[in-house]
């Protein structure tokens, strides 16, 4: 165990990631079926960096986020293998008690729908105060109160409104409150799970610019889960594209948006964005649907929908190939490409599959 940590720390010295996920595999098991939600993913988030996790509904984005906080549904969600290191500590080896110190204090999460993420019978101030008191039990009532007001001020809400209930706020204001709760303990990592999906476009812009602002001011790292590539372009340093539980392409925002080589799925994603300048009458969607996660194809999961599908794609899962410093693509199309090197991600020695209780 201790060996493991020192080993990781050596790796850390080069890139110093705040969070690193290695070879993570998550399944949901019920009596009837096994859903392979996340398959062997590798992710890293550097200190102060923002990683955008992109993918369509059901790709495993939220499952990845919940695994980081160990909040998978109790009886059905299991982490089968892999490791998650946060600031050099293994999250999967922590006790529930230690996890409670991490959640909300060092890693906090903003949920998708601000309408339901706030408790309707507590005032906004009480809810922020609760989070502060939980992780700073030594503060006096007056100090907590001061901090609540500061936090509200920070997200652009009049501090006097702390005595109001969530239903007295509009959607965008509620999301600000949710963000205030997430940021009041100044976490090192903020996980934002589609923070603007439930908001309309103008409010989206406000909330996003506020989040960018706070991130820069507090130096928080951020995992931004979204399916909106526009948001990614504006906000993220790095991007990972997820498909059917796998990361099929990752790299810096520049790699993904401007790079020459792309996974066909990424190409499809970009093609399906409406373009103001082109005059085409129709959008260009990717045909077909995501494969059934209870029955993934043996080869590349994208093969059934891929325009450039080859025979090998249906049989063998592609290796991840590294192009340049940062750009990783997982596709057979680049098997012969001499520019890239195959990344042999050393598999983490298995410990018989850990269960998340």
């Amino acid at each position: 165990m201790s060996d493991n940590i020192t080993e990781v720390k050596e790796e850390v010295t080069t890139a110093a990631p705040l969070l690193s996920i290695k070879d993570l595999k998550v399944t949901y098991r019920t009596d009837l079926e096994v859903v392979e939600a996340v398959n062997d993913i590798y992710l890293e988030i550097g200190k102060g960096k923002t990683l955008g996790l992109v993918g369509e509904t059901g790709a495993g984005k939220t499952t990845t986020a919940l695994s980081i906080l160990r909040l998978l549904p109790n009886r059905t969600g299991f982490i089968d293998k892999g490791e998650i290191f946060f600031d050099g500590e293994s999250i999967l080896d922590m006790t529930e008690h230690q996890m409670q110190h991490v959640r909300g204090n060092r890693i906090s999460m903003v949920f998708q729908d601000p309408m339901t993420a706030l408790n309707p019978v507590l005032t906004v101030g009480d809810q922020i105060a609760e989070a502060i008191k939980l992780h700073n039990p030594h503060l006096s009532a007056a100090e907590v109160d001061q901090k609540v007001e500061d936090t509200l001020q920070m997200v652009g809400i009049l501090p006097q409104r702390k005595v109001e209930y969530p239903h007295q706020f509009s959607g965008g204001m509620k999301q600000r409150v949710v963000i205030a709760i997430a940021l009041c303990c100044e976490p090192e990592l903020l996980i934002a799970d589609e923070p603007t999906t439930a908001l309309d476009v103008t409010i989206q812009a406000q909330v996003l610019s506020m989040m960018r602002d706070l991130r820069d001011r507090l130096g928080t790292s951020m995992l931004l889960i979204t399916h909106d590539l526009g948001i990614v372009a504006q906000t993220c340093d790095d991007v990972a594209v997820m498909y059917a539980g796998e990361i099929i392409e990752s790299g810096t925002t520049k790699d993904i948006f401007l790079g020459g080589r792309h996974h066909p799925y990424t190409v499809g994603l970009f093609d399906s964005i409406p373009d103001l300048e082109s005059k085409s009458a129709r959008l260009n969607p990717i045909p077909g649907l995501m494969p059934d996660p209870t029955d993934l194809p043996p080869g590349c999961p994208f093969a059934p929908r891929c325009r450039e599908c080859m025979d090998i794609c249906r049989e063998k899962r592609p290796e991840t190939k590294l192009f340049g410093e940062t750009h990783r693509i997982r596709c057979h199309k680049f098997d012969q490409d001499a520019a890239g090197t195959v990344v042999t991600d050393e598999p983490v020695e298995e410990e018989g599959g850990k269960q998340d209780e």
């Binding site: 652009g156 009049l158 005595v163 209930y165």
Partner: protein, 307 residues
């Protein structure tokens, strides 16, 4: 892009500026706020006023008509009709009915209120544990509850009272055992529903432990339903308790008690129907008023309805 940022910032700025002009946001104390909304409900106000009068009468019963009068048997007064001296008449033993109702009410209401509280606390605790933790804990609690519920309430209570003897504390135990089952089911179903809510998940993601989640997120949200049930149950328990005394299992005589008075009046119903009327009216008025107040409280406590 930058333009977009600017407009967003401007919009945010404008929103804050607009809010600056609004008068300060002040939360009147919680109690005041609830009272303000409660007052709007006329029915509940009437219920509350009558209840307060009843409580005052019961509290000062000793001054209005001392306990001795309630148990003193005067042969000349047997079945005396209501008169200036005995406004509610006298019963088959020549005891003053008004005084008996006042002193009986003290016992009836005290038992009803305390038994409701105890059954609510016991039931809600079990229900919250069963609903929140689920799995085998839930199974054990709910199956044990099924056994409890398979025995008819009245039989169950009778057994307890007969086994332990009829007195104030044992009556409380018997009534608690008979009534806590409702709360277990009610609170369990509420908890099952509420623990699926996103704010509960958000609380967990914020590092809250189980106890905190139950106490500060789930129970307050279930409070409206619990309060309505509590008030309905107070009324039910008053009636139920009268049933017990009617069957001779209530407080031991000569202690007056509403149900007991009904039971005694039944024997002389033909000759003196007013003996039946007054205790029955007392029960009905109390039950009604408590229900009205409960109704108003539910509305007043629900923050969704705040204007």
């Amino acid at each position: 892009m930058d333009e977009l940022k600017n407009t967003a910032a401007q919009a945010a700025g404008a929103a804050v500026a607009a809010e600056d002009e609004v008068v300060t946001f002040k939360r009147p104390s919680q109690a005041k706020e609830i009272w303000r909304r409660f007052r709007k409900n006329r029915g509940s106000m009437i219920g509350l006023i009558i209840l307060i009068i009843i409580f005052l009468l019961l509290i000062f019963a000793e001054f209005i008509s001392p306990y001795e009068i309630a148990i003193k048997q005067i042969p000349e007064n047997i079945l005396a009709k209501p008169s200036a001296q005995h406004p509610f008449g006298c019963d088959a033993y020549g005891r003053d009915v008004l005084s008996r109702i006042l002193h009986g009410g003290r016992v009836s209401l005290a038992i009803a209120l305390i038994a409701t509280m105890t059954s609510c606390i016991v039931g809600s605790t079990l229900g919250a544990i069963a609903g929140y933790f689920g799995k085998w804990i839930d199974s054990i609690i709910m199956r044990a509850l099924d056994i409890f519920m398979s025995v008819p309430d009245i039989l169950f209570t009778m057994t307890v009272v007969v086994a332990l003897g009829a007195n104030f504390v044992n009556l409380l135990i018997a009534l608690t055992l008979a009534y806590f089952t409702n709360y277990v089911r009610l609170v369990r179903s509420q908890v099952l529903n509420l623990s699926e809510q996103e704010y509960v998940e958000a609380a967990r993601a914020g590092g809250s432990g189980n106890a905190r989640i139950i106490l500060s997120h789930i129970i307050p949200n279930a409070m409206g339903v619990i309060i309505v049930n509590v008030t309905l149950n107070v009324a039910k328990i008053i009636i139920y308790e009268s049933t017990l005394s009617f069957l001779g299992l209530g407080m031991p005589p000569p202690q007056p008690e509403w149900g007991l008075m009904l039971s005694e009046a039944r024997e002389v119903m033909r000759k003196a129907p007013f003996l039946l009327f007054f205790p029955a009216a007392a029960i009905v008025i109390c039950a009604c008023c408590i229900n009205l107040v409960g109704d108003g409280l539910r509305d007043a406590l629900d923050p969704h309805l705040k204007s």
